[in-house]
Amino acid sequence: MTAANDSALGLDAVKSPAGRILKFVLYALLLLVFAGPLLALLVSAFNDVSDPTALSVVPSSPTLDNFGIAFDLGVGMYLLNSFLVVGFGLLLQVVISVLAGYALARKKFRFMTFVLVAILATLMLPEEILAIPLSLILSDLPVVHLNLIGSLAGMIVPLGAWAFSILVMTEFMKDVPRELEEAARIDGAGDLRIFAQIILPMCKPALGVIGVFGFTMIWDQYLLPLLVSTDASTYTLPLALRTLRIDTNVTPGVIMAASLLALLPSVAAFLFFQRSFVRGLASGALKG
């Protein structure tokens, strides 16, 4: 097979000087459009940017002051809140998803299809649409009568109900061979042991997918923290960016410094677990 047919356009096979120049210009333009703004953010975070017009990709007066001012304004606390929400939220989401996945993939029971369909249906239900009733329910949880408004717990607990992760775990656990489980049953293993020692260890790739997806999803949350938090002490970092901006003494350089801190965790998660991320993206979308 020739290189020209490796891809639809076969650009890798273009070797003429004019073609090379054209390719270079195209790729440079793409990089400029999609990565350029982020480069400007990075540079401005470390630059003394006093007004919005000074945003650029060329550092003029490098400084770390922006971070100092940002931390003085409480960015450290907002960052800690964000990490608490993503840490406990992701833990809850993963534990709930693997448990539910085990039941749905390895068991046969009455109403199973009903449960599966009910969970799947919530994939079609944008969280924005549930926002108002959700905030009412969080202020007075039925039966237990707890008020979670104004607490980080109110942002964390609802994250446990995440159909995508359950779906990924169920699909993956179905493919673990029956024979492994049956052998363990003959040895007298109960469900808990089979789940923890046989099924779960084989699901590492799926755990990678739901882990990295859950992390970026939770880190990107905006509306739920907005509804739950009542004052700055429970703001997550993305939420705090808006209040930082309203303070007229805060320069764009400081906002970019805070923004850099807000984007680093999810960008790092993507770069380190890129394979899991792309696999989840493709399978999630193409199965839909």
Partner: protein, 318 residues
């Protein structure tokens, strides 16, 4: 998938031992699958949270939409009044119109540019892998950061970052998000910047599934690059198109955060979308019933759109 296939074969040797001790059918079933309530124990945490944070809110949204909601005073049943308020409200009409414009603009823009990106960057070389990762970054940047960054880039004076670039080619300065005439397109462009790389990744996954032999055959037949795209690539991406369309359209209809942070519906209500209006009605003006009616209508629109595309797909596949 990296499931180890060597082990089951080895274990398989033990299987006849099971058959030699035939137990009564009922007992064997309970031995193998545990008690009837075992699966429910594993499901319980998920079910509790889904009931609390998905199903109860869903039911609450529907009941609230038929009520005059007064916390602490008790809710009054008002029938379809909230719906007629929403449907008769001038502000809601324009919010829905804006939502549709943003949904269409972002969906079409993201898909067209995403497809172009995917075609340009399909390939195995290290350089292309790097380029794809770099182009994908906007997708994993939190939406709140995207909004703050673009707000500053959209600075309305001629020294603003984007305006100085426009100035280089003799255009502008534009007011961008501060001008009612350009605020919509500015919001859409920001959405495309974040949406196109996402679509690119899905298109790339679709492109990887196209049979290389078809390209080979087209080359042998002397087809030009353009004809290969038109007759091999695009038909091969058909299902990707419909999936992306549904995903992007739903994303467009529920648009909230970027509008809330970029313009908060302004200037002069020129970018007010359904969700920002519902948010204002519900949480700032405490008209929870009317807000809920709007949310239910938005959900129905999402549902109709999804079903419509499903039906189209079924019919074409049949």
């Amino acid at each position: 998938m990296t499931v180890d296939h060597a082990k089951p074969a080895a274990v398989g040797a033990d299987r006849p031992a099971v058959k030699r001790t035939p137990a009564p059918k009922a007992r064997r079933r309970s031995d193998r699958d545990g008690k009837w309530w075992t699966p429910w124990l594993f499901l319980a945490p998920a079910l509790i949270l889904f009931v609390y944070f998905k199903f109860i809110p869903m039911i609450t949204a529907v009941t609230m939409s038929f009520q005059d909601v007064q916390p602490y005073l008790g809710n009054q049943w008002v029938g379809g009044q909230n719906y007629s308020t929403v449907l008769g409200d001038e502000a809601f009409h324009s919010a829905i119109w804006h939502t549709v414009v943003i949904a269409i603009g972002q969906t079409a823009g993201s898909m067209i540019i995403g497809l172009a990106l995917a075609l340009l960057m399909e390939g195995q070389s290290k350089r292309l892998k790097f380029l794809r990762s770099a182009a994908f970054l906007p997708v994993v940047v939190p939406i709140a950061v995207v909004a703050e960054l673009w707000r500053i880039m959209y600075h309305p004076t001629e020294d603003g970052m984007l305006n100085s670039i426009l100035g280089l080619v003799g255009l502008g300065p534009s007011g961008f998000i501060n001008d009612p005439d350009s605020s919509m397109i500015s919001v859409i462009i920001t959405g495309i910047w974040r949406g196109a790389p996402y679509d690119m990744m899905i298109f790339l996954a679709g492109l990887a599934g196209i049979d290389r032999g078809l390209y080979e055959a087209a080359t042998v037949d002397g087809a030009s690059r353009w004809r290969k795209i038109l007759h091999v690539t695009l038909p091969g991406l058909r299902s990707v198109f419909s999936i992306l369309f549904v995903l992007a359209a739903i994303r467009g209809l529920r648009v909230f955060t970027e509008v809330f942070l970029l313009t908060n519906g302004g200037p002069n209500g020129s970018t007010e979308v359904a969700m920002t209006l519902i948010y204002k009605l519900g949480l700032e003006q405490n008209r929870l019933g009317v807000g809920a009616a709007g949310a239910v209508l938005l959900f129905l629109a999402t549902l109709v759109l999804t079903l419509f595309v499903q039906v189209l797909r079924r019919r074409r596949d049949a």
